[in-house]
């Protein structure tokens, strides 16, 4: 029997992004959310006899932006297929979807390779009346065709993720990236972003993939992580007890964290794919490709890479600051305002002290939303860096800024926090502290460096934190060495 530690998680994601185009994928009906059922319909999206689909050009442009952001290869001619299946959410009894030649091929976002991205149409929304909540055994089923035909881009990753947390964190990066393209609302709650997992386990170090299961219905990042975690645990248990994982599709139930296989009757399909004869190939022009590339804002993954390479930020700090453009802009303004201070130091103030001060302040506000302007933060960081105030006083100023905003220099002035710069005054305070802590002084003399803390503490208490810690340390050592 193998142990848990020997099994490695292998996770790929399939992400459906509902595009926020004005109209549907193949007809002129407006997209809507939350309107009365079946008001955004026409003969085309209700699949009346004789109707034909026409591709929404805006959807192609959106897909090209996503392809550019994910660094995908764009197919010179991609085509649509029909995916045939009978279900009331599909009025044509087939979904028009890209199959063997998707608009976008191999790409990458962060550390994860993209397998492909393709265009398709969303199904209508079914509401099953009755206890089961499923079509089988329900008293009646209602169909709302408002959603039917909404443009979707389905993004499929390679199985490059190795833990549930990694999967959730990468999915967040993808959502931020797509959000910043302005092509989708990317709301998991409203279903405009839907993430399914392809999950398997294998002995660590193995190159072969295990049998995967498909995990659906995780409508938040938290549930995504929990759902994958639960499925990994289930698979590990099966494999460890000598069993085999069955290939199947599972539904995650967020209420109790349980996993339920979808009934095979609903899933056992032969989709009879064939090329959609009602549409011609999508052949993006060079101008369309250029427009998509040039429209890209700086995206989180790139920004993070730039922060690491050019500003010397640690990876985790860079990731935090780069995720959304507002936080990034805040950081960059603060850093730009703090001349002579390393960006790394400003970054630590934003993600460390400021975040902590905001938490302690009890509010929900982020740095961007807080009363602390990036200019004020820059000023504060400069005061500390130039040793005009101590680090401890800096935190005091920051707390005041979080509470009421304002100008750091004025707060320093008002609160009398300016650092003791008269070395004579500081020297006498240090001497008094050594005298008051003879045991600590002895220990320092006999080589126990740690004991210095007690004396530094006494100095800081006496000066109310207005002394420069480094200078205090230096003075203590000088005096004890000399005495």
């Amino acid at each position: 029997m193998r142990g848990v530690a020997e099994l490695e998680a292998v996770i790929g994601l399939e992400i459906h992004v509902q595009l926020a185009t004005r109209t549907k994928m193949f007809c002129g009906c407006e997209l809507s959310f939350g309107d009365e059922p079946n008001v955004h319909t026409c003969p085309v999206c209700l699949a009346h006899p004789g109707v034909l689909p026409v591709v929404n050009e805006e959807a192609i442009r959106s897909a090209l932006k996503i392809a550019a952001a994910l660094e995908c290869e764009v197919a010179p001619r991609s085509i649509f297929h029909r995916k045939n299946y009978f279900y009331p959410d599909s009025p044509k009894a087939y979904q028009i979807s890209q199959y063997d030649i998707p608009i976008a091929g191999a790409g990458r976002l962060g550390e994860v390779r993209i397998h492909r991205a393709h265009l398709e149409e969303d199904a209508a929304k079914m509401i099953h009346v009755g206890e089961s909540g499923r079509i089988h055994g329900s008293g009646a089923s209602l169909v709302d065709f408002n959603r039917g035909g909404t443009p979707l881009v389905e993004i499929v990753t390679e199985p490059d993720l190795r833990s549930a947390a990694e999967a959730a964190s990468w999915a967040r990066l993808l959502r931020e990236t797509v959000r910043q393209l302005g092509v989708s609302d990317v709301s998991m709650e409203e279903g405009s972003l839907r993430v399914d997992g392809n999950i398997s386990v294998r002995p660590a170090g193995s190159e072969q993939l295990g049998t995967k299961t498909e995990l659906k219905n995780m409508n938040s990042f938290r549930f995504l992580e929990r759902g994958i975690e639960a499925e990994l645990a289930r698979q590990r248990e099966i494999v460890e007890s000598g069993g085999r994982v069955e290939q199947e599709t599972l539904h995650y139930h967020p209420e109790d964290g349980s996993l339920h296989p979808l009934r095979s009757k609903e899933e056992a399909h032969d989709y009879r794919y064939f090329p959609e004869p009602d549409l011609v190939a999508i052949a993006p022009t060079e101008a369309m490709l250029r427009e998509a590339r040039e429209s890209l804002p700086e995206l989180p993954a790139h920004r993070q890479a730039r922060y690491e390479a050019e500003l010397g930020l640690a990876a985790d700090v860079a990731a935090l600051l780069a995720a959304d453009p507002e936080t990034a802009a805040y950081f960059e303004r603060a850093s730009g305002g703090a001349e002579g201070v390393e960006p790394r130091v400003v970054a630590n103030w934003v993600t460390g002290e400021l975040a902590a001060a905001l938490r302690q302040g009890g509010g929900e506000a982020t740095a961007v939303e807080s009363k602390v302007t990036p200019e004020a933060l820059a000023e504060l960081v400069k005061l500390v860096a130039e040793k005009k105030i101590s680090h401890g006083s800096g935190k005091t100023v920051l707390a005041a800024l979080v509470a009421d905003g304002g100008d750091p220099a004025a707060i320093v002035e008002r609160e009398g926090l300016a650092q003791i710069s008269d070395s004579g005054e500081l020297e006498s305070i240090v001497a008094a502290a050594i005298e008051a802590n003879p045991e600590a002084a002895d220990q320092i003399r006999s080589g126990n460096g740690k004991a210095i803390g007690a004396i530094v503490g006494a100095v800081m208490k006496q000066t109310q934190g207005r002394a420069d810690g480094g200078e205090v340390n230096r003075l203590i050592k000088e005096k004890l060495a000399g005495g």
Binding site: P43, L46, G50, R82, N84, A93, L279
Partner: protein, 497 residues
């Protein structure tokens, strides 16, 4: 009254434009004629009341009989199927809209084989159409109603659709002109789909000039149909009088033995006439054309199996009483709503697309299709046209082939290859011939095919040949004069039989 009906659509249009003919009076005459339908050719007729969405503001074009496969807003549209009984579309097909906008009223909706699947019109859920030349015989299909109303004097002209011969073959069996344009010349929007990559709308008319006039109204790119492109130039009325310098190819592998002797004689006589007009006739190899039927009967059913999946009883049309769940309701509706031939093709197509069989059937058929298109391309590098008999036989008896689907499918032997290649082809009446089993003579069609978008050349050549043939026969009681076209010099008369 019958004088009005004797006019071709072109003549009537010119008279209306010149103010010599009242559009109302003319349309009324046709409504009265249509009301006398004893061929079961109309499924719905305009009775002259409120035309609703089909109203025409200033009629100036002859009224049109429209195959019941075209959606017409507020007017019953069944595609010959029980499953669409009672369906009134919420919109109008582009081809019909173009007619209305041009000033052509809709005279009625014509009977057809269910979902255009058939070559005899016996697959209609609303009963077979009778051939106006002999009510014991079929009019051909699937546009049988449209061919019968034109031949029988129940409409000046008609709209049909052709997937594998459904305009040309009934035109041939009814002794009129039928044109299948290049795939993409006319919008398919609102035309109920049978096999999307093959379906094409086209005119059924008394003569070639009318076909050109109607084509001119119908053709054009439509933003609602991504596969439509229209014709490079608007067609003009044909006026060519000889065939000098034109080369006509007869497929070398033309299965002459499968052709009825009478049909063969008319065909050979027509080739001689081409030469008499200065045209050159030679054989050409179309080595893959003989596989056309096989490829067609994979591709068309495959597409049909998907196109017809939407008829589920949920949103419109017939819904079977079913106490079971949704799936059982689907099954009951489709079991009761579709006829035997439609079910046969859905089964064939579903099988051909199944995983594991796709490559062997659908994939292979598409390869054959490409080869056939390449055969034609090679032929057109040397020749202007490819010619064949339209149908291997004259109109056959009702019920004669209903038990033998393969014999029925072979009706399309000469028309299917052009459909697969997407090229234009016209059938014109070339003479009369005695049926194989004996009996009164019946019309024989002559098919001319041209390169894609070669409609103008095709119409010009067909016109010259039509004038030379001077086909002068008509079913008894038909109101129109024997010699078509006002510019006919009117010799002919031997009928080629």
């Amino acid at each position: 009254m019958s004088d009005l009906l004797a006019l071709t659509a072109l003549q009537a249009h010119e008279a209306m434009v010149a103010g010599d003919l009242g559009a109302g009076e003319y349309a009324d005459a046709w409504r009265a004629a249509a009301a006398s339908d004893e061929l079961n050719a109309y499924l719905w007729r305009d009775e002259g009341g409120d035309a609703g969405a089909l109203a025409v503001e200033r009629p100036s074009i002859a009224p049109v009989a429209v195959k019941d496969i075209f959606c017409t807003e507020g007017v019953p549209t069944t595609a010959g199927s029980r499953i669409l009984e009672g369906y009134r579309p919420p919109y109008t097909a582009t081809a019909v809209r173009r007619l209305l906008e041009a000033g052509a009223p809709i005279l009625g909706k014509t009977n057809m084989d269910e979902f255009a699947m058939g070559s005899s019109n016996e697959n209609s859920a609303y009963g077979p159409v009778l051939n106006p030349w002999d009510p014991g015989r079929v009019p051909g299909g699937s546009s049988g109603g449209s061919a019968a109303v034109v031949a029988g004097g129940l409409a000046p002209w008609a709209l049909g659709t052709d997937t594998g011969g459904s305009i040309r073959q009934p035109a041939s069996l009814c002794g009129i002109v039928g044109l299948k344009p290049t795939y993409g010349a006319i919008s398919r929007y609102g035309m109920i789909a049978f096999a999307s990559s093959l379906d094409q709308c086209g005119p059924l008319t008394r003569d070639v000039s009318d076909a050109a006039l109607l084509l001119g109204i119908l053709q054009g790119r439509d933003p609602c149909d991504s596969t439509s492109v229209g014709l490079p130039d608007a067609p003009r009325l044909p006026d060519r009088e000889d065939l000098a310098g034109l080369r006509f190819a007869v497929p070398a592998d033309l299965a002459r033995e499968a052709i009825e002797p009478g049909v063969r004689e008319v065909f050979e006589a027509t080739l001689a006439r081409i030469e008499a007009l200065g045209g050159e006739v030679a054989e050409v190899a179309l080595p893959h054309a003989e596989h056309g039927i096989s490829a067609y009967y994979v591709i068309a059913p495959a597409e049909a199996s998907s196109n017809l999946a939407r008829y589920d009883g949920v949103r419109y049309g017939m819904r079977a009483d079913s106490s079971g769940d949704t799936i059982e309701m689907y099954e009951a509706t489709r079991a009761q709503g579709f006829g035997a031939e439609v079910k046969r093709r859905i089964m064939l197509g579903t099988y051909a697309l199944s995983s594991g069989y796709y490559d062997a059937y659908y994939g292979q058929a598409q390869k054959v299709r490409t080869k056939i298109a390449a055969d034609f391309e090679a032929a057109f590098a040397e020749f202007d046209f490819v010619v064949t008999p339209t149908s291997p036989s004259v109109a056959f008896g009702l019920g004669e082939k209903t038990d033998d689907p393969l014999a029925m499918y072979l009706n399309d032997f000469f028309t299917v290859p052009m459909s697969l290649a997407g090229i234009p082809a016209i059938s014109i009446p070339a003479g009369l011939a005695e049926p194989a089993g004996g009996g009164p003579e019946l019309p024989v069609g002559f098919q001319i095919a041209a390169p894609a978008f070669g409609e103008q050349k095709l119409l010009d050549a067909a016109y010259a040949l039509e004038q030379a043939i001077g086909f002068d026969a008509a079913p008894s009681g038909a109101p129109y004069p024997p010699v078509p076209g006002k510019r006919a010099t009117g010799t002919g008369g031997e009928g080629g039989g």
